[in-house]
Protein backbone atom coordinates (compact mmCIF):
# COMPACT_ATOMS: atom_id res chain seq x y z
CA UNK A 1 0.00 0.00 0.00
CA UNK A 2 1.50 3.33 -1.05
CA UNK A 3 2.14 5.94 1.63
CA UNK A 4 0.33 8.66 -0.30
CA UNK A 5 -2.73 7.94 -2.42
CA UNK A 6 -4.40 10.69 -4.37
CA UNK A 7 -7.56 9.35 -5.96
CA UNK A 8 -9.54 11.07 -8.70
CA UNK A 9 -8.80 14.46 -7.26
CA UNK A 10 -10.52 17.38 -8.94
CA UNK A 11 -10.50 20.76 -7.27
CA UNK A 12 -11.67 24.28 -8.12
CA UNK A 13 -10.94 27.36 -6.01
CA UNK A 14 -13.98 29.31 -4.77
CA UNK A 15 -15.70 31.39 -7.47
CA UNK A 16 -13.68 29.82 -10.28
CA UNK A 17 -15.06 27.69 -13.07
CA UNK A 18 -11.96 26.01 -14.39
CA UNK A 19 -10.65 23.43 -11.88
CA UNK A 20 -7.03 23.99 -10.83
CA UNK A 21 -6.59 20.20 -10.58
CA UNK A 22 -8.39 17.63 -12.69
CA UNK A 23 -8.57 13.93 -12.19
CA UNK A 24 -5.27 13.55 -10.39
CA UNK A 25 -4.30 10.00 -9.50
CA UNK A 26 -0.96 9.62 -7.79
CA UNK A 27 0.60 6.98 -5.57
CA UNK A 28 3.80 7.72 -3.69
CA UNK A 29 5.78 5.15 -1.75
CA UNK A 30 7.26 5.78 1.66
CA UNK A 31 10.75 7.28 1.30
CA UNK A 32 10.18 8.30 -2.29
CA UNK A 33 11.32 11.73 -3.56
CA UNK A 34 8.90 13.01 -6.19
CA UNK A 35 9.47 16.22 -8.15
CA UNK A 36 6.54 18.20 -9.57
CA UNK A 37 7.24 20.22 -12.67
CA UNK A 38 5.07 22.38 -14.89
CA UNK A 39 4.53 25.87 -16.25
CA UNK A 40 3.17 28.72 -14.14
CA UNK A 41 -0.43 27.95 -13.34
CA UNK A 42 -0.10 24.22 -14.07
CA UNK A 43 -1.33 23.35 -10.56
CA UNK A 44 1.89 22.57 -8.70
CA UNK A 45 1.10 24.76 -5.69
CA UNK A 46 -2.50 23.57 -5.61
CA UNK A 47 -1.39 19.94 -5.54
CA UNK A 48 1.05 20.84 -2.74
CA UNK A 49 -1.84 22.43 -0.83
CA UNK A 50 -3.99 19.33 -1.36
CA UNK A 51 -1.24 17.04 -0.06
CA UNK A 52 -0.69 19.32 2.93
CA UNK A 53 -4.40 19.54 3.79
CA UNK A 54 -4.73 23.27 3.02
CA UNK A 55 -7.10 22.16 0.30
CA UNK A 56 -9.85 21.70 1.49
CA UNK A 57 -9.30 22.88 5.08
CA UNK A 58 -8.03 26.38 4.36
CA UNK A 59 -8.93 26.95 0.71
CA UNK A 60 -12.59 26.07 0.38
CA UNK A 61 -14.03 25.60 -3.10
CA UNK A 62 -15.17 22.46 -4.81
CA UNK A 63 -13.42 19.18 -4.17
CA UNK A 64 -13.97 15.70 -5.53
CA UNK A 65 -11.90 12.63 -4.87
CA UNK A 66 -9.58 12.15 -1.92
CA UNK A 67 -6.08 12.48 -0.54
CA UNK A 68 -4.82 9.75 1.74
CA UNK A 69 -1.50 9.72 3.58
CA UNK A 70 -0.26 7.23 6.15
CA UNK A 71 -3.63 5.45 5.98
CA UNK A 72 -5.70 8.55 6.85
CA UNK A 73 -7.90 10.72 4.67
CA UNK A 74 -7.28 14.47 4.69
CA UNK A 75 -11.02 15.18 4.52
CA UNK A 76 -11.54 13.25 7.74
CA UNK A 77 -8.74 14.93 9.70
CA UNK A 78 -8.54 18.47 10.98
CA UNK A 79 -5.75 20.63 9.58
CA UNK A 80 -3.83 20.51 12.87
CA UNK A 81 -4.03 16.69 12.99
CA UNK A 82 -2.90 16.51 9.38
CA UNK A 83 0.04 18.86 9.83
CA UNK A 84 1.45 16.70 12.62
CA UNK A 85 2.50 14.30 9.84
CA UNK A 86 2.71 16.55 6.85
CA UNK A 87 4.88 19.67 6.54
CA UNK A 88 4.54 22.31 3.81
CA UNK A 89 6.83 25.16 2.85
CA UNK A 90 5.07 27.91 0.91
CA UNK A 91 6.27 29.27 -2.39
CA UNK A 92 6.77 32.69 -0.75
CA UNK A 93 8.83 32.19 2.42
CA UNK A 94 7.60 35.50 3.78
CA UNK A 95 4.15 33.93 4.27
CA UNK A 96 5.67 31.34 6.52
CA UNK A 97 7.26 33.55 9.15
CA UNK A 98 5.12 33.48 12.28
CA UNK A 99 5.61 37.12 13.24
CA UNK A 100 5.60 35.98 16.87
CA UNK A 101 9.33 35.53 17.34
CA UNK A 102 12.37 37.78 17.55
CA UNK A 103 15.14 35.43 16.51
CA UNK A 104 15.62 32.79 13.86
CA UNK A 105 16.32 30.24 16.60
CA UNK A 106 12.98 30.92 18.31
CA UNK A 107 11.20 31.01 14.97
CA UNK A 108 12.41 27.51 14.18
CA UNK A 109 11.57 26.31 17.69
CA UNK A 110 8.04 27.72 17.45
CA UNK A 111 6.37 24.65 15.91
CA UNK A 112 7.97 22.30 18.42
CA UNK A 113 6.84 24.53 21.32
CA UNK A 114 3.31 24.44 19.97
CA UNK A 115 3.16 20.67 20.16
CA UNK A 116 4.69 20.61 23.64
CA UNK A 117 8.16 19.20 22.97
CA UNK A 118 10.35 19.57 26.10
CA UNK A 119 12.74 22.54 26.17
CA UNK A 120 15.92 20.44 26.15
CA UNK A 121 14.85 18.39 23.15
CA UNK A 122 13.81 21.55 21.30
CA UNK A 123 17.29 22.95 21.68
CA UNK A 124 18.93 19.81 20.30
CA UNK A 125 16.55 19.51 17.39
CA UNK A 126 16.81 23.18 16.39
CA UNK A 127 20.62 23.02 16.47
CA UNK A 128 20.49 19.92 14.30
CA UNK A 129 18.14 21.53 11.78
CA UNK A 130 20.20 24.74 11.63
CA UNK A 131 23.25 22.65 10.79
CA UNK A 132 21.38 20.69 8.13
CA UNK A 133 20.47 23.83 6.17
CA UNK A 134 23.71 25.60 7.00
CA UNK A 135 22.24 28.66 8.75
CA UNK A 136 23.79 28.39 12.22
CA UNK A 137 25.22 31.88 11.77
CA UNK A 138 21.70 33.32 11.42
CA UNK A 139 20.38 31.87 14.70
CA UNK A 140 20.44 35.16 16.65
CA UNK A 141 19.18 37.37 13.80
CA UNK A 142 15.63 38.64 13.41
CA UNK A 143 13.67 36.66 10.81
CA UNK A 144 12.59 39.95 9.27
CA UNK A 145 16.08 41.32 8.74
CA UNK A 146 17.17 38.56 6.37
CA UNK A 147 17.68 38.51 2.64
CA UNK A 148 15.07 36.63 0.57
CA UNK A 149 17.21 33.52 0.16
CA UNK A 150 18.09 33.47 3.84
CA UNK A 151 14.38 33.71 4.73
CA UNK A 152 13.70 30.80 2.43
CA UNK A 153 16.25 28.70 4.30
CA UNK A 154 14.66 29.64 7.62
CA UNK A 155 11.21 28.65 6.31
CA UNK A 156 12.56 25.30 5.14
CA UNK A 157 14.35 24.70 8.43
CA UNK A 158 11.23 25.44 10.46
CA UNK A 159 9.47 22.61 8.62
CA UNK A 160 12.37 20.14 8.66
CA UNK A 161 12.71 20.51 12.42
CA UNK A 162 9.20 19.04 12.78
CA UNK A 163 10.38 15.82 11.08
CA UNK A 164 7.18 15.32 9.12
CA UNK A 165 6.53 11.91 7.56
CA UNK A 166 5.49 13.65 4.38
CA UNK A 167 7.45 16.75 3.39
CA UNK A 168 5.86 19.00 0.77
CA UNK A 169 8.11 21.73 -0.63
CA UNK A 170 6.74 24.37 -2.99
CA UNK A 171 9.71 25.74 -4.93
CA UNK A 172 11.94 25.71 -1.85
CA UNK A 173 15.11 26.85 -3.62
CA UNK A 174 13.71 29.57 -5.87
CA UNK A 175 15.58 32.41 -4.13
CA UNK A 176 18.64 30.44 -3.10
CA UNK A 177 22.11 30.79 -4.51
CA UNK A 178 23.06 27.98 -6.91
CA UNK A 179 25.21 25.97 -4.54
CA UNK A 180 22.70 26.39 -1.71
CA UNK A 181 19.93 25.13 -3.99
CA UNK A 182 21.91 22.06 -4.90
CA UNK A 183 22.60 21.39 -1.22
CA UNK A 184 18.89 21.46 -0.46
CA UNK A 185 18.25 18.83 -3.12
CA UNK A 186 21.03 16.72 -1.70
CA UNK A 187 19.77 17.10 1.89
CA UNK A 188 16.27 16.17 0.79
CA UNK A 189 17.65 13.11 -1.02
CA UNK A 190 19.22 12.03 2.26
CA UNK A 191 16.02 12.55 4.23
CA UNK A 192 14.17 10.43 1.70
CA UNK A 193 16.76 7.71 2.07
CA UNK A 194 16.08 7.78 5.79
CA UNK A 195 12.39 7.19 5.09
CA UNK A 196 10.83 10.63 4.73
CA UNK A 197 8.45 10.90 1.79
CA UNK A 198 9.05 14.07 -0.21
CA UNK A 199 7.10 15.97 -2.85
CA UNK A 200 8.88 19.01 -4.25
CA UNK A 201 7.63 21.48 -6.86
CA UNK A 202 10.70 22.80 -8.68
CA UNK A 203 12.09 24.13 -11.95
CA UNK A 204 15.76 23.12 -11.54
CA UNK A 205 15.84 20.11 -13.82
CA UNK A 206 19.57 19.46 -13.48
CA UNK A 207 19.13 18.72 -9.79
CA UNK A 208 15.79 16.99 -10.24
CA UNK A 209 17.47 14.57 -12.65
CA UNK A 210 20.27 13.94 -10.22
CA UNK A 211 18.39 13.67 -6.93
CA UNK A 212 14.69 12.80 -7.43
CA UNK A 213 13.24 9.31 -7.84
CA UNK A 214 10.36 10.31 -10.01
CA UNK A 215 9.05 13.31 -11.94
CA UNK A 216 5.39 14.20 -12.26
CA UNK A 217 4.76 16.70 -15.06
CA UNK A 218 1.61 18.78 -14.70
CA UNK A 219 -0.12 20.67 -17.44
CA UNK A 220 -3.30 22.69 -17.00
CA UNK A 221 -4.21 20.83 -13.83
CA UNK A 222 -3.70 17.32 -15.20
CA UNK A 223 -0.81 14.89 -15.06
CA UNK A 224 0.71 14.98 -18.53
CA UNK A 225 3.38 12.40 -17.85
CA UNK A 226 5.20 10.75 -14.97
CA UNK A 227 8.12 8.40 -14.57
CA UNK A 228 11.84 8.19 -13.98
CA UNK A 229 13.47 11.64 -14.29
CA UNK A 230 15.55 10.74 -17.33
CA UNK A 231 12.64 9.31 -19.22
CA UNK A 232 10.34 12.26 -18.52
CA UNK A 233 12.90 15.05 -18.88
CA UNK A 234 14.20 13.86 -22.25
CA UNK A 235 10.79 12.98 -23.71
CA UNK A 236 9.49 14.54 -26.88
CA UNK A 237 6.15 15.02 -25.15
CA UNK A 238 7.65 17.44 -22.64
CA UNK A 239 9.63 19.22 -25.33
CA UNK A 240 6.53 19.65 -27.50
CA UNK A 241 4.67 21.04 -24.52
CA UNK A 242 7.27 23.72 -23.87
CA UNK A 243 8.56 22.45 -20.52
CA UNK A 244 11.89 23.76 -19.32
CA UNK A 245 14.67 21.19 -19.46
CA UNK A 246 18.37 21.40 -18.69
CA UNK A 247 20.83 22.94 -21.15
CA UNK A 248 22.41 19.51 -21.52
CA UNK A 249 19.19 18.10 -22.89
CA UNK A 250 18.34 21.05 -25.12
CA UNK A 251 21.88 21.38 -26.52
CA UNK A 252 21.93 17.65 -27.36
CA UNK A 253 18.48 17.92 -28.94
CA UNK A 254 19.73 20.74 -31.15
CA UNK A 255 22.91 18.79 -31.94
CA UNK A 256 20.74 15.84 -32.94
CA UNK A 257 18.71 18.07 -35.25
CA UNK A 258 21.97 19.11 -36.93
CA UNK A 259 23.06 15.50 -37.19
CA UNK A 260 25.85 15.91 -34.64
CA UNK A 261 24.37 13.89 -31.77
CA UNK A 262 24.06 10.27 -32.72
CA UNK A 263 23.31 8.56 -29.42
CA UNK A 264 19.79 7.27 -29.11
CA UNK A 265 19.01 8.88 -25.75
CA UNK A 266 19.42 12.50 -24.74
CA UNK A 267 21.46 13.47 -21.67
CA UNK A 268 20.04 14.84 -18.40
CA UNK A 269 23.32 15.27 -16.53
CA UNK A 270 26.78 16.71 -16.99
CA UNK A 271 28.24 13.19 -17.01
CA UNK A 272 25.94 11.95 -19.74
CA UNK A 273 26.36 15.11 -21.79
CA UNK A 274 30.15 14.86 -21.49
CA UNK A 275 30.03 11.24 -22.61
CA UNK A 276 27.74 11.90 -25.59
CA UNK A 277 29.40 15.10 -26.79
CA UNK A 278 32.82 13.58 -26.10
CA UNK A 279 32.06 10.96 -28.73
CA UNK A 280 31.42 13.70 -31.31
CA UNK A 281 34.80 15.32 -30.88
Amino acid sequence: MAFVNVRNLTYAYPLTKQPALQDINLQIEEGEFVALIGANGAGKSTLCYALAGFVPHFFKGELQGEVEADGKLSSQSTLSEWTLNVGLTFQNPFNQISGAKYTVFEEIAFGLENIGVPREEIKVRVEEALALTDIRELARRSPYSLSGGQQQRVALTSILVMRPKLLVLDEPTSQMDPVGAKEVFSAVRKLAQEGMTVVMAEHKTEWIARFADRVVALKEGRILMQGAPREVLTSDLLFENGFGVSRYTSAAREARRRGLWTKKSLPVSLDEAAEGFGAIR
Binding site: G38, A39, N40, G41, Q91, N92, F94, R141, S142, S145, L146, S147, G148, G149, Q150, R153, E171, S174, Q175, M176, D177, P178, V179, G180, A181, K182, H203, E206, G242, F243, G244, S246, R247, Y248, S250, A251, E254, A255, R258, L260, L270, A273, A274, F277, G278, I280, R281
Partner: protein
Amino acid sequence: MNIEIKSLHFAYPDGTEALKGISLTIASGEQIAIVGQNGAGKTTLARHLNGLLKPSGGTVFVGDWETTQHPVAKLAARVGYVFQNPDEQLFSRDVLTEVSFGPRNLGYAKEKVDALAQRALALTELSEKTEVNPYDLSPTWRKMVALASIIAMDTPIVVFDEPTTGQDAANVARIARVVAELKREGKTVIAITHDIDFCAENFERVVALSRGQILLDGATRDVLGQEAVLAQTYVEPPQLTRLGKRLGLKETVVNQEELLQALKK
Protein backbone atom coordinates in the same frame (compact mmCIF):
# COMPACT_ATOMS: atom_id res chain seq x y z
CA MET B 1 23.88 58.09 -17.97
CA ASN B 2 26.73 56.49 -16.01
CA ILE B 3 26.61 55.08 -12.50
CA GLU B 4 29.67 55.71 -10.36
CA ILE B 5 29.96 53.95 -7.01
CA LYS B 6 32.96 54.78 -4.83
CA SER B 7 33.99 52.93 -1.65
CA LEU B 8 30.39 52.24 -0.75
CA HIS B 9 29.83 51.00 2.80
CA PHE B 10 26.49 50.23 4.33
CA ALA B 11 25.38 48.92 7.71
CA TYR B 12 21.76 48.24 8.69
CA PRO B 13 20.47 49.76 11.93
CA ASP B 14 21.01 46.44 13.76
CA GLY B 15 24.71 46.66 12.92
CA THR B 16 24.79 44.13 10.06
CA GLU B 17 27.51 45.30 7.69
CA ALA B 18 26.04 44.49 4.31
CA LEU B 19 28.43 46.39 2.03
CA LYS B 20 32.12 46.79 2.77
CA GLY B 21 33.74 49.02 0.19
CA ILE B 22 32.16 48.59 -3.22
CA SER B 23 33.59 50.54 -6.15
CA LEU B 24 31.90 50.08 -9.48
CA THR B 25 31.44 52.08 -12.66
CA ILE B 26 28.58 51.18 -14.94
CA ALA B 27 28.52 52.84 -18.34
CA SER B 28 25.39 53.98 -20.09
CA GLY B 29 23.76 51.15 -22.04
CA GLU B 30 25.55 48.26 -20.34
CA GLN B 31 23.81 44.97 -19.47
CA ILE B 32 25.15 43.75 -16.16
CA ALA B 33 24.26 40.73 -14.06
CA ILE B 34 25.04 40.67 -10.36
CA VAL B 35 25.50 37.22 -8.85
CA GLY B 36 26.55 35.87 -5.49
CA GLN B 37 25.52 33.89 -2.46
CA ASN B 38 22.45 34.64 -0.35
CA GLY B 39 23.19 37.57 1.90
CA ALA B 40 26.14 38.75 -0.21
CA GLY B 41 24.62 42.26 -0.39
CA LYS B 42 23.11 42.24 -3.89
CA THR B 43 19.73 43.70 -2.89
CA THR B 44 21.38 46.18 -0.54
CA LEU B 45 23.57 47.38 -3.41
CA ALA B 46 20.64 47.61 -5.81
CA ARG B 47 18.65 49.70 -3.34
CA HIS B 48 21.43 52.25 -3.25
CA LEU B 49 21.05 52.89 -6.95
CA ASN B 50 17.63 54.50 -6.65
CA GLY B 51 18.30 56.03 -3.26
CA LEU B 52 16.05 53.70 -1.23
CA LEU B 53 19.13 53.23 0.93
CA LYS B 54 21.78 55.89 1.53
CA PRO B 55 25.46 55.01 2.02
CA SER B 56 26.95 54.80 5.51
CA GLY B 57 30.22 55.63 3.76
CA GLY B 58 31.34 56.39 0.21
CA THR B 59 29.24 57.80 -2.62
CA VAL B 60 26.81 56.72 -5.29
CA PHE B 61 26.40 58.92 -8.35
CA VAL B 62 23.68 58.42 -10.94
CA GLY B 63 24.72 60.65 -13.78
CA ASP B 64 25.68 63.92 -12.11
CA TRP B 65 23.42 63.32 -9.10
CA GLU B 66 24.75 62.07 -5.83
CA THR B 67 21.95 59.96 -4.36
CA THR B 68 22.08 61.58 -0.91
CA GLN B 69 21.36 64.96 -2.49
CA HIS B 70 18.15 63.96 -4.24
CA PRO B 71 14.87 62.56 -2.96
CA VAL B 72 13.80 59.04 -3.97
CA ALA B 73 10.88 60.47 -5.93
CA LYS B 74 13.31 62.42 -8.14
CA LEU B 75 15.74 59.54 -8.56
CA ALA B 76 12.81 57.45 -9.76
CA ALA B 77 13.01 59.32 -13.06
CA ARG B 78 16.53 57.98 -13.58
CA VAL B 79 16.53 54.52 -12.01
CA GLY B 80 13.66 52.03 -12.04
CA TYR B 81 13.94 49.27 -9.44
CA VAL B 82 11.89 46.08 -9.62
CA PHE B 83 11.63 44.56 -6.14
CA GLN B 84 12.65 40.98 -5.42
CA ASN B 85 9.25 40.43 -3.81
CA PRO B 86 6.49 41.98 -5.96
CA ASP B 87 4.19 42.19 -2.94
CA GLU B 88 6.39 45.01 -1.60
CA GLN B 89 5.71 46.97 -4.75
CA LEU B 90 2.14 46.40 -5.94
CA PHE B 91 -0.86 48.14 -4.47
CA SER B 92 -3.34 49.07 -7.23
CA ARG B 93 -6.63 47.30 -7.84
CA ASP B 94 -6.01 46.51 -11.47
CA VAL B 95 -3.02 45.91 -13.69
CA LEU B 96 -3.52 48.96 -15.91
CA THR B 97 -3.71 51.35 -12.95
CA GLU B 98 -0.64 49.73 -11.45
CA VAL B 99 1.39 50.04 -14.62
CA SER B 100 0.22 53.63 -15.24
CA PHE B 101 1.05 54.74 -11.72
CA GLY B 102 4.79 55.22 -12.25
CA PRO B 103 4.69 57.40 -15.37
CA ARG B 104 1.76 59.38 -13.98
CA ASN B 105 3.70 59.98 -10.81
CA LEU B 106 6.61 61.30 -12.84
CA GLY B 107 4.23 64.00 -14.03
CA TYR B 108 3.84 62.92 -17.66
CA ALA B 109 0.79 63.99 -19.68
CA LYS B 110 -2.06 61.51 -20.01
CA GLU B 111 -1.28 60.56 -23.61
CA LYS B 112 2.31 59.80 -22.73
CA VAL B 113 1.27 57.84 -19.62
CA ASP B 114 -1.08 55.72 -21.73
CA ALA B 115 1.51 55.13 -24.42
CA LEU B 116 4.20 54.12 -21.92
CA ALA B 117 1.82 51.81 -20.07
CA GLN B 118 0.67 50.12 -23.27
CA ARG B 119 4.24 49.61 -24.43
CA ALA B 120 5.25 48.06 -21.10
CA LEU B 121 2.18 45.82 -21.10
CA ALA B 122 2.90 44.67 -24.64
CA LEU B 123 6.54 43.99 -23.85
CA THR B 124 5.65 41.83 -20.85
CA GLU B 125 2.72 40.22 -22.67
CA LEU B 126 0.23 41.46 -20.12
CA SER B 127 -2.03 43.28 -22.58
CA GLU B 128 -4.83 40.73 -22.07
CA LYS B 129 -4.71 41.10 -18.30
CA THR B 130 -5.13 44.88 -17.86
CA GLU B 131 -8.36 44.68 -15.88
CA VAL B 132 -7.29 41.95 -13.49
CA ASN B 133 -6.48 42.74 -9.87
CA PRO B 134 -2.77 41.94 -9.42
CA TYR B 135 -3.66 39.95 -6.31
CA ASP B 136 -5.81 37.59 -8.36
CA LEU B 137 -2.79 36.73 -10.47
CA SER B 138 -0.36 33.97 -9.58
CA PRO B 139 2.85 35.09 -7.83
CA THR B 140 4.78 34.60 -11.05
CA TRP B 141 2.50 36.88 -13.07
CA ARG B 142 2.53 39.40 -10.22
CA LYS B 143 6.27 39.53 -10.79
CA MET B 144 5.64 40.32 -14.45
CA VAL B 145 3.29 43.15 -13.42
CA ALA B 146 5.96 44.53 -11.10
CA LEU B 147 8.37 44.43 -14.02
CA ALA B 148 5.93 46.14 -16.38
CA SER B 149 5.17 48.91 -13.91
CA ILE B 150 8.85 49.83 -13.73
CA ILE B 151 9.49 49.53 -17.47
CA ALA B 152 6.57 51.92 -18.00
CA MET B 153 8.55 54.68 -16.27
CA ASP B 154 10.95 54.63 -19.21
CA THR B 155 14.00 55.35 -17.05
CA PRO B 156 17.47 55.26 -18.61
CA ILE B 157 18.52 52.71 -15.96
CA VAL B 158 16.50 49.65 -14.94
CA VAL B 159 17.37 47.37 -12.04
CA PHE B 160 15.76 43.94 -11.72
CA ASP B 161 16.08 42.10 -8.41
CA GLU B 162 15.88 38.36 -9.16
CA PRO B 163 13.47 38.67 -12.09
CA THR B 164 13.48 34.97 -13.03
CA THR B 165 12.94 33.61 -9.53
CA GLY B 166 10.23 30.97 -9.63
CA GLN B 167 9.48 31.64 -13.29
CA ASP B 168 8.78 28.88 -15.78
CA ALA B 169 10.69 28.51 -19.06
CA ALA B 170 8.18 30.63 -20.99
CA ASN B 171 8.39 33.56 -18.57
CA VAL B 172 12.18 33.37 -18.39
CA ALA B 173 12.16 33.67 -22.19
CA ARG B 174 9.79 36.65 -21.92
CA ILE B 175 12.09 38.35 -19.43
CA ALA B 176 15.05 37.69 -21.75
CA ARG B 177 13.11 39.41 -24.55
CA VAL B 178 12.45 42.39 -22.26
CA VAL B 179 16.16 42.68 -21.48
CA ALA B 180 17.02 42.49 -25.20
CA GLU B 181 14.48 45.18 -26.05
CA LEU B 182 15.75 47.52 -23.31
CA LYS B 183 19.26 46.95 -24.61
CA ARG B 184 18.12 47.82 -28.13
CA GLU B 185 16.69 51.06 -26.75
CA GLY B 186 20.10 51.87 -25.28
CA LYS B 187 19.05 51.52 -21.64
CA THR B 188 21.29 50.31 -18.85
CA VAL B 189 20.01 47.02 -17.42
CA ILE B 190 21.25 45.67 -14.09
CA ALA B 191 19.86 42.31 -13.00
CA ILE B 192 20.47 40.39 -9.83
CA THR B 193 20.09 36.72 -10.53
CA HIS B 194 20.86 33.20 -9.31
CA ASP B 195 20.03 31.79 -12.72
CA ILE B 196 23.52 31.53 -14.14
CA ASP B 197 22.37 30.07 -17.45
CA PHE B 198 20.05 33.06 -17.93
CA CYS B 199 22.92 35.34 -16.92
CA ALA B 200 25.29 33.77 -19.46
CA GLU B 201 22.78 34.05 -22.28
CA ASN B 202 21.63 37.63 -21.75
CA PHE B 203 24.34 39.77 -20.14
CA GLU B 204 27.68 41.01 -21.37
CA ARG B 205 29.23 41.79 -18.00
CA VAL B 206 29.00 40.00 -14.67
CA VAL B 207 29.79 41.23 -11.17
CA ALA B 208 30.12 38.58 -8.47
CA LEU B 209 29.62 39.79 -4.91
CA SER B 210 30.73 37.97 -1.80
CA ARG B 211 30.17 39.09 1.78
CA GLY B 212 29.69 42.73 0.89
CA GLN B 213 32.63 42.99 -1.48
CA ILE B 214 33.27 42.55 -5.18
CA LEU B 215 34.86 39.19 -5.88
CA LEU B 216 34.93 39.33 -9.69
CA ASP B 217 33.96 41.93 -12.27
CA GLY B 218 34.42 41.55 -15.99
CA ALA B 219 33.17 40.21 -19.29
CA THR B 220 30.67 37.38 -18.83
CA ARG B 221 32.96 34.78 -20.35
CA ASP B 222 35.91 35.76 -18.18
CA VAL B 223 33.93 35.80 -14.95
CA LEU B 224 31.88 32.66 -15.51
CA GLY B 225 34.95 30.69 -16.52
CA GLN B 226 36.48 31.08 -13.06
CA GLU B 227 34.98 28.08 -11.37
CA ALA B 228 37.15 28.05 -8.25
CA VAL B 229 36.70 31.75 -7.46
CA LEU B 230 32.94 31.63 -8.09
CA ALA B 231 32.65 28.73 -5.67
CA GLN B 232 33.66 31.12 -2.88
CA THR B 233 30.33 32.87 -3.37
CA TYR B 234 28.28 29.70 -3.95
CA VAL B 235 27.95 30.17 -7.67
CA GLU B 236 28.61 27.48 -10.26
CA PRO B 237 29.43 28.22 -13.89
CA PRO B 238 26.60 27.71 -16.41
CA GLN B 239 25.78 24.14 -17.37
CA LEU B 240 27.30 24.43 -20.84
CA THR B 241 30.41 26.15 -19.50
CA ARG B 242 30.94 23.23 -17.15
CA LEU B 243 30.33 20.86 -20.04
CA GLY B 244 32.86 22.68 -22.25
CA LYS B 245 35.46 22.46 -19.49
CA ARG B 246 34.75 18.76 -19.04
CA LEU B 247 35.18 18.23 -22.76
CA GLY B 248 38.53 19.98 -22.61
CA LEU B 249 37.55 22.86 -24.91
CA LYS B 250 40.25 25.51 -24.94
CA GLU B 251 37.88 28.48 -24.91
CA THR B 252 35.20 29.10 -22.32
CA VAL B 253 31.79 28.58 -23.93
CA VAL B 254 28.76 30.23 -22.33
CA ASN B 255 25.87 29.23 -24.58
CA GLN B 256 24.59 26.51 -26.88
CA GLU B 257 25.76 28.04 -30.15
CA GLU B 258 29.29 28.50 -28.84
CA LEU B 259 29.38 24.93 -27.64
CA LEU B 260 28.18 23.46 -30.93
CA GLN B 261 30.55 25.66 -32.95
CA ALA B 262 33.50 24.70 -30.76
CA LEU B 263 32.66 21.01 -31.19
CA LYS B 264 32.69 21.32 -34.97
CA LYS B 265 36.29 22.51 -34.91
